[in-house]
């Protein structure tokens, strides 16, 4: 169990982990690390680590097949070792719900209409949890879908805005989530000005709500730019490797 810190914002305006309110955790992205999957990605926001694997479009089992588009299946799951105490590997109510919520946030972005009667599977596995897992999962899913070559309307990403000690903070971690006054995860595709997930836990005033939304879009734009860099550089690196053999 985590201890509640006395103060969430210290005298110099820094948060429990030394970040400024508008600062993201250090983000790491990697793609193409699973051989069997059509596309895969590992994304870390600070200590939160999520791996995503995408399969398909592939042949549907009869009962999930849709006549006009590909059926999208999303599984969000937390590894038994992802938390401080062992998490029972059986999908919990929360995980089943998050799978549904994530699926619904992917549906407007993945172009399923080109592949009728097929299935696209997105698996996200939380390897290490330190708050904001659903938003990291969205970012990982975005990269894995792009890596798999499944047509998507745009790259997307997620970030959670929180409120601690009356201050709005970007990309909250576990402690800020657990003891904070509000938690607002958002998934969006900034290139299309499209928000696909918007949740709020806690209380925000109308002005705070507007400010938090602007902060989130700003942060997601930064995250999506990182995704673009990751994708572009992973293919450029292959370029260089090939040229070395000349």
């Amino acid at each position: 169990m985590m201890v509640r810190p006395e103060k969430f914002i210290d005298g110099s305006g820094r948060r429990v982990d030394g970040r400024l309110p508008n600062e993201l955790r250090p983000i790491k992205m990697q793609i193409g690390l699973l051989k069997n999957a059509n596309g895969s990605a590992l994304v870390e926001y600070g200590l939160t680590k999520v791996i995503a694997a995408v399969y398909g479009p592939r042949e549907s089992q009869k009962f999930v097949s849709l006549p006009d588009r590909a059926s999208l299946r999303v599984r969000y799951h937390m590894a038994p070792f992802s938390t401080e105490e062992r998490k029972n590997p059986v999908p919990t109510r929360r995980e089943i719900e998050l799978s549904k919520v994530l699926r619904e946030s992917l549906e407007p972005i993945v172009m399923t209409n080109y592949f009728p009667r097929t299935t696209i599977d997105v698996f996200v596995e939380v390897l290490q949890s330190d708050g904001g897992t659903r938003t990291v999962a969205a970012t990982a899913a975005s990269l894995a879908l792009a890596d798999a070559g499944i047509p998507i309307k745009a790259l997307f990403g997620g970030v959670a805005i929180g409120k601690v000690d009356g201050v709005l903070v970007v990309d909250i971690n576990e402690v800020e989530d657990m003891y904070g006054d509000a938690d607002m995860p958002i998934i969006a595709a900034p290139d299309l000005s499209l928000v696909t997930l918007y949740q709020l836990n806690g209380v925000l005033s109308k002005d705070e709500f507007q400010e938090a939304f602007d902060m989130a879009i700003n942060a997601i734009t930064r995250i999506v730019n990182m995704e673009k860099e990751t994708l572009k550089s992973s293919y450029q690196v292959e370029n260089k490797e090939g040229d070395l053999e000349k």
Binding site: D147, G149, I150, K153, L155, Y235, E238
Partner: protein, 232 residues
């Protein structure tokens, strides 16, 4: 002719390209045209724009000649894996060219078994039907000699090369016969196991290094050296 190549990511605006109905690599969103996949955008000097995806799948099209792997069979048809999301169907009637007053053998599945490859043409495919194959055309049918290697369907263009330069190099240096199917299956016929192994390695190399420059020269050198080492 020099050209300007860059990598685009999904959602990136591409100017000067019109999305066609068949291809889903680019699409219209509002007033803009955007890419839906990671790909290489090639802007040639004469203003021609070409977009080729780096990853992706093979979508069957009527008229395509593909190589399929027999995976199972029903009462009167075989099911083939053609390296796409849709399983292809080849009927017993078609395979034996059955017309009026003639009959297919009583045990048709002895003639084409699970695990064998077939070169066939797609005669029908749409959103509600799986691809239907035919072997009733010149050069089609069960593959009885040589070997088949399966690569990623988006790398097919690289194996063929600009105006067929890569495939010509492969033919000239190994002396083998190649058939590159659009679904990424390549039939190699050499009559010599060593040459076949060299050809397979060369194609695997092309697949891995598909988006590098100077590949044709490197492949040529590799095959020549390998032939010296193996003495074939």
């Amino acid at each position: 002719m020099s050209s300007n190549k860059r990598i685009v990511v999904p959602g990136e605006v591409i100017e000067g390209i019109t999305p066609s109905v068949q291809e889903f690599y680019v699409f219209n969103y509002g007033d803009t045209t955007r890419a839906s996949m990671i790909g290489v955008l090639d802007i040639k000097q004469d203003g021609q724009i070409n977009f080729s995806p780096i990853n992706g799948i093979y979508m069957p099209r009527e008229g395509d000649v593909v190589i399929g792997l027999v995976t199972s069979h029903g009462v009167s048809n075989w099911f083939l894996d053609i390296n796409s999301p849709y399983q292809a169907i080849l009927s017993v009637q078609d395979f034996f060219g059955v017309r009026q007053n003639s009959q297919a053998p009583e045990d048709p599945f002895r003639y084409l078994q699970i695990g064998e490859f077939v070169k066939a043409k797609i005669v029908a495919f749409d959103r509600i039907r799986n691809p239907l194959l035919t072997v009733q055309d010149k050069g089609l049918g069960k593959i009885v000699e040589g070997s088949v290697i399966i690569i990623h369907p988006t790398k097919v263009a690289r194996v063929i090369g600009k105006k067929g330069s890569m495939i010509e190099t492969l033919k000239a240096t190994t002396g083998c016969e190649y058939f590159v199917a659009v679904n990424g299956a390549i039939h190699i016929k050499c009559g010599n196991k060593d040459l076949e192994a060299i050809a397979e390695t060369a194609i695997e190399t092309i697949e891995k290094q598909a988006h590098t420059s100077g590949l044709t020269e490197r492949i040529k050198k590799f095959i020549e050296e390998e032939r010296k080492i193996r003495g074939v």
